[in-house]
């Protein structure tokens, strides 16, 4: 990466943050805080609620890749992947803070670390990178929710359930694989 590109990316942080639509993530955060707070106050394990929260948070982060001015910005030297990473960084930090708060509100959960959230988000980003342009962000944002939904309805012990459960059982491997898929599409 050239010095000019690094400087440009650094200078783009503030305007990119302003270009992001913060109302949907804020709405999702409030909703999740309420739901997890209620589930936590019951004193029962809140794994299902947290799984839904992970998918919801991941979907919201991936949804932040939607850029209304994408067509105008398509042929700028700062690549689409770099602009995606900028958006993900800006949304990812508050998402991780939210996740930490949610986990601390829910007693007796298996979702202790950020791994499951990062794995689901990375899968969504990988889909968004490779999906057709017009539906890329939509499909990417739907991916975490779809993974969770199919994981929940797949017959227990089946191969499908096992594979789709990797985001929970082996999140760092899933994150690594999804990152590689994203890296392979870095020029897209």
């Amino acid at each position: 990466m050239t010095a000019a590109m690094t400087a440009a990316t650094a200078q783009a942080v503030v305007p990119t943050a302003r270009a992001l639509r913060w109302a949907p993530p804020a709405g999702v955060a409030v909703l999740l805080l309420l739901v997890v707070g209620l589930a936590g106050s019951s004193g029962r394990p809140a794994d299902t609620v947290l799984a839904i929260a992970a998918a919801g948070t991941a979907a919201t982060v991936v949804g932040g890749l939607h850029d209304p001015a994408a067509a105008l910005l398509a042929p700028v030297p700062v690549s689409a992947m770099r602009r995606r990473l900028l958006r993900l960084g800006l949304l990812g930090v508050p998402a991780l803070v939210l996740w930490w708060v949610l986990v601390s509100m829910a007693p007796m959960t298996v979702h202790a670390g950020p791994g499951p959230l990062l794995a689901l988000a990375a899968c969504g980003v990988a889909v968004a990178v490779w999906a057709p342009e017009r539906v890329a962000v939509l499909l990417g944002a739907a991916t975490p929710v779809a993974v969770l939904a199919v994981d929940r309805v797949a017959p227990a012990g089946s191969t499908v359930a096992e594979v789709l459960g990797w985001w929970l059982t082996d999140p760092w491997w899933v994150l690594g694989a999804a990152t590689l898929v994203c890296a392979a599409g870095r020029h897209r």
Binding site: A8, Q11, P15, R18, A19, L72, A74, V76, P77, R83
Partner: protein, 295 residues
């Protein structure tokens, strides 16, 4: 200017080649949007005419490095955009206005143009500010540069996007229907801005407005069904209809195309009936004839 197109002899060259395409093809599934297009363009303004679905936008997106062709080779400003490093270099010297561009409604025009300038790697803030103000003034938005974009009219938003394309004095300017939403005064202002850019670089624009082409472009490419079916100057395009356009009060079943004019007479293009006086041809007539004959 240097301008050649598929199946058209190369005119003499008086400047360097800025854009060269050889056998460019792009398909979306079974639909071939751009079919074996050859182009060589130098400095100046080139107008791309064609009916809806002719492949103009796809061709412009390829020329703007937004889309990669499925086949063929492309050279932009002497570089091959298929290579990521060369593509980035081309993009530093490229301006692009997409069809119906969307902007950030919460930004002001100045902020929007400044943001595009940052992403074009113009990192000197003072220079960027001066340049953003200059291009916004050039497109007639000097007095609106601090208003929120969402409060501006469609034509003004189009001019903000045009200003964003112009920032950094690009050598290659690719504009997809730049005059959409502009009133006559704004169109004239646009012509001045583009004429200035064309002194130092190559401007390729698509339009449905033949009057715009006649007033602005040194060269015209007519596209139909993904192919360049005609190439020449606006005067030559009008000349295609020389002796093949006439007016009458009645329908002419032998005409290739007929339409009612403002004064109530009918204008026709096609084979002139014997004994009929031909009308003075326009770029519109030539365009209609070319697109009819290419099918």
């Amino acid at each position: 200017m240097t301008t050649t197109a598929h199946s058209t002899p190369s005119p003499s060259t008086d400047s360097g080649t800025m854009l060269a395409a050889d056998g460019i093809t792009k398909a979306f599934g079974s639909l071939v949007a751009v079919d074996d297009v050859d182009l060589t363009l130098g400095r100046g303004i080139v107008g791309l005419l064609g009916p809806n679905g002719a492949g103009k936008t796809t061709l412009l997106r390829i020329l703007a490095t937004v889309l990669a062709p499925d086949r063929g080779t492309l050279s932009l400003l002497g570089m091959d955009p298929a290579s990521p490093a060369a593509r980035t270099e081309v993009r530093r010297r490229l301006g692009y206005l997409p069809q119906s561009p969307r902007l950030y409604g919460g930004f002001t025009p100045l902020e929007m143009v400044d943001y595009v300038a940052i992403l074009k790697e113009h990192t000197d803030r003072a220079w960027r500010r001066r340049e953003a103000v200059a291009v916004l003034e050039a497109v007639g938005l000097g007095d609106r540069m601090h208003k929120r974009i969402r409060t501006l009219s469609g034509g003004m938003q189009q001019r903000v996007a045009l200003a964003a394309a112009l920032i950094g004095s690009p050598d290659l300017l690719v504009l997809d229907e730049p005059a959409t939403g502009l009133d006559p005064e704004q169109r004239i202002a646009l012509r001045s801005v583009l004429a200035e850019t064309a002194h130092r670089g190559c401007v390729v624009l698509s339009t449905h407005n033949t009057a715009e082409v006649a007033a602005l472009c040194q060269h015209v490419l007519v596209m139909d069904a993904g192919r360049i079916c005609w190439s020449g100057t606006p005067a030559e395009l009008a000349g295609v209809a020389e002796g093949r356009v006439w007016e009458s009060d009645v329908e002419e079943p032998t005409a290739l195309r007929s339409w009612l004019t403002g004064p109530g007479t009918r204008r026709h293009v096609g084979t002139l009936p014997s004994g009929t006086t031909p009308a003075v041809p326009t770029v519109d007539d030539g365009y209609l004839l070319v697109t009819r004959l290419s099918r």
